[in-house]
């Protein structure tokens, strides 16, 4: 019995293309915030969708030794929460209803009172209280992203899968959201996998960084160990340096993009 998330030989195929090719990473223990980074089309979103059961995958995907692959309806609905990259724009639900429906969708999840308390808390943390009765189609992209995150957090799942959770957010909320997620991960001994484009944000907040390229894991490890100039060149085709700030955190300074044939 392994505690945590196991990903071994994970392969995902689309019709004419293999998006993940036997991806394996060391087992991820509870209480870990994992940043998945890599260039466009590296397989970041595919990996999260495969773990969420939204796309069939081969290989081992298991949480606490319980396989997650298989039909959605066979899975314990409490297992995971998934935040997609983009949320629907045309919905006339108000923010409160969107989050309430996340609590009540599977009947056994929450009593009404529990749901109300959980929503109060999560709206407070994400400063959504004033927007609670606004319709989703009236909110900005960043506000909708926060509502989507609230839908995930309110269920307190042991596995959080966030696809670019800060892509539509300003600097204040990028930091605020990642701090909040890191705190929840540590407090609840949860595991969070977040696909991210901002490497420095990833290095700053993650306990573990997985670098994907071409459907494989190029490297996986703590932020201080994993990043190197070679890896930057290999994964992103970028000439750059790794410096360290006064707090000892690694910072990527990118100098220029290499031409594709270099």
């Amino acid at each position: 019995m392994t505690d945590g998330l196991s990903l071994q030989r994970v392969t995902v195929r689309y019709r004419d293309k293999t998006a993940l090719q036997g991806l394996s990473v060391p087992d991820i223990p509870p209480g870990t915030l994992v940043a998945i980074i890599g260039p466009n089309a590296a397989g970041k979103s595919t990996l999260l969708r495969a773990i969420a059961g939204l796309h069939p995958a081969e290989g081992l995907v298991a949480l606490d030794s319980v396989p997650l692959t298989g039909p959605v309806r066979d899975r314990n609905p409490q297992t995971l929460g998934y935040l997609p990259q983009s949320l629907p724009q045309g919905s006339r639900l108000v923010a409160y209803e969107a989050v309430l429906s996340a609590c009540r969708a599977i009947r056994s999840d929450f009593s009404r009172r529990q749901a109300e308390q959980a929503i109060d808390a999560v709206f407070d943390v994400l400063a959504l209280t004033d927007l609670a009765l606004r319709r989703l189609d009236e909110l900005s992209g960043g506000q909708r992203q926060l509502v989507g995150l609230a839908q995930v957090l309110v269920r307190k799942p042991p596995l959080l899968l966030l696809d670019e959770p800060t892509s539509a957010l300003d600097l204040h909320w990028q930091l605020n959201v990642l701090e909040t997620v890191r705190e929840i991960v540590r407090r609840d001994r949860a595991i969070c996998l977040a696909a991210m484009h901002d490497i420095n944000l990833a290095l700053r907040f993650a306990d573990l960084v997985v670098v994907l390229e071409g459907g494989r894991a190029l490297a996986a490890g703590p932020p201080g160990d994993v990043m190197s100039a070679d890896l930057l060149r290999q994964a992103y085709g970028v000439l750059g340096r790794i410096e360290h700030c006064s707090k000892g955190l690694p910072i990527v300074l990118s100098d220029r993009a290499l031409r594709p044939d270099v």
Binding site: V72, Q78, L93, A102, A105, I119, D120, G148
Partner: protein, 357 residues
């Protein structure tokens, strides 16, 4: 959780939940308003017609049939009431069906007829009329309705089987539905081409859609199907509401979305099939009803589903009044009126929504 120093919300003081409850009261009010408007429209529908019956006579006659003379009694109880009741039953069935199909196909332009139910019902009716079928000795009228219903159910089963085989994604189901509509319309045209002029006229009249075919037993069947479907729909309200927040996210909550879609489409098709089998082609109710409900009530399906049924019933009831009032002394087929009134209304709704930022 974050560094805010604000006191955490206490278990007993839940201002947000209270604010939301007050907000919900508005929606309850809208449901009540729709119900009230429907009651008024029903009475107006009963009071409208070529024969002049004072409203006092009608109210007295509704309480006690014996207060009416024979002619009045026949007009009220055998013509106007079934007509008005059928408008409400069919409107509610199509409104509910429209709301559900729009949600599970994630498409506000979908209607129960997107799936080919109407085209199949028309084919069934055309076959019964042109080949002069009289099955099981139930009479010609019921044979036509029965054939329309059977063909509609068969078309649903074909779409379901295809969706199960090739995947029940919203786009796939819509594609199958459109293919069904074109194929079935071609068959209807073929039968019309072969028909003699008498049968052709009957087929054309059937496709116009009319409440004049209403009888109490037909109304009872529509009401029975609606009464079975509504509670089943209401059991799925949270899942459908969650679906409006995004399909992928709904799946990650543990909702088996494809299964929900297939089961819902089966219910929708039954509602639509039974409605069109008895009254023929009545367009736009399944499209306009949910749009009105969405504007007034939002998309929390606890309110949206009953609201769509009420709005559908109201629109068809108003159309029924119009069908008797536009040309004095003549009752136009209500299908023509719903299409003529429905198109501008629908365009206005869509354009108003588009204009919003």
């Amino acid at each position: 959780m974050n560094d805010k120093t604000a006191t955490p919300p206490s278990a007993d003081i839940r201002p947000l939940a209270d604010r939301y409850r007050r907000f919900m009261l508005r929606r309850v009010f809208w449901l009540a308003a729709l119900s009230g408007a429907l009651a008024v429209s029903f009475l107006a529908d009963v009071a409208t017609g070529p024969a002049a019956l004072p409203i006092s006579t009608i109210l007295a006659g509704l309480m006690d049939r014996d207060t009416l003379d024979l002619a009045q009694s026949v007009i009220l109880w055998d013509v106007r009431l079934p007509y008005a009741a059928m408008a409400i039953a069919v409107g509610a069935a199509l409104g509910l069906a429209g709301a559900e199909v729009q949600t599970v196909l994630n498409n506000p332009l979908a209607s129960p007829f997107t799936l080919g139910v109407l085209a199949a019902a028309t084919l069934g009716a055309a076959v019964a009329i042109v080949f002069d079928l009289n099955l099981f000795g139930v009479g010609r009228n019921y044979t036509i309705s029965g054939a329309a219903f059977l063909f509609a159910v068969a078309s649903i089963l074909v779409v379901q089987a295809l969706s199960k085989t090739y995947g029940a994604g919203a786009d796939t189901v819509v594609l199958f539905g459109i293919a069904m509509v074109f194929a079935l319309n071609a068959l209807v045209a073929l039968i019309q081409f072969m028909a003699d002029s008498d049968s052709l006229q009957q087929v054309v009249f059937w496709t116009m859609g009319s409440l004049a075919r209403a009888t109490w037993d037909k109304i009872a069947i529509v009401v029975a199907v609606f009464s079975v479907c509504l509670p089943l729909s209401m059991r799925q309200v949270w899942k459908m509401t969650a679906l409006r927040g995004g399909e992928d996210q709904a799946k990650s909550f543990g909702i088996a979305v494809d299964r929900l879609r297939l089961v819902t489409l089966l219910r929708v098709s039954l509602l639509a099939a039974v409605a069109v089998a008895f009254v023929g082609t009545i367009g736009f109710i399944g499209l306009v009803g949910p749009h009105i409900a969405r504007l007034a009530l939002g998309e929390d399906h606890r309110f949206f589903l009953p609201g769509s049924a009420l709005a559908g019933a109201l629109v068809l009831s108003l159309a029924s009044i119009a069908s008797k009032s536009i040309v004095p002394g003549l009752i136009l087929p209500v299908g023509i009126v719903t299409a003529l009134v429905g198109i501008p209304l629908f365009m206005a709704l869509v354009l108003t929504q588009r204009r919003r930022p």
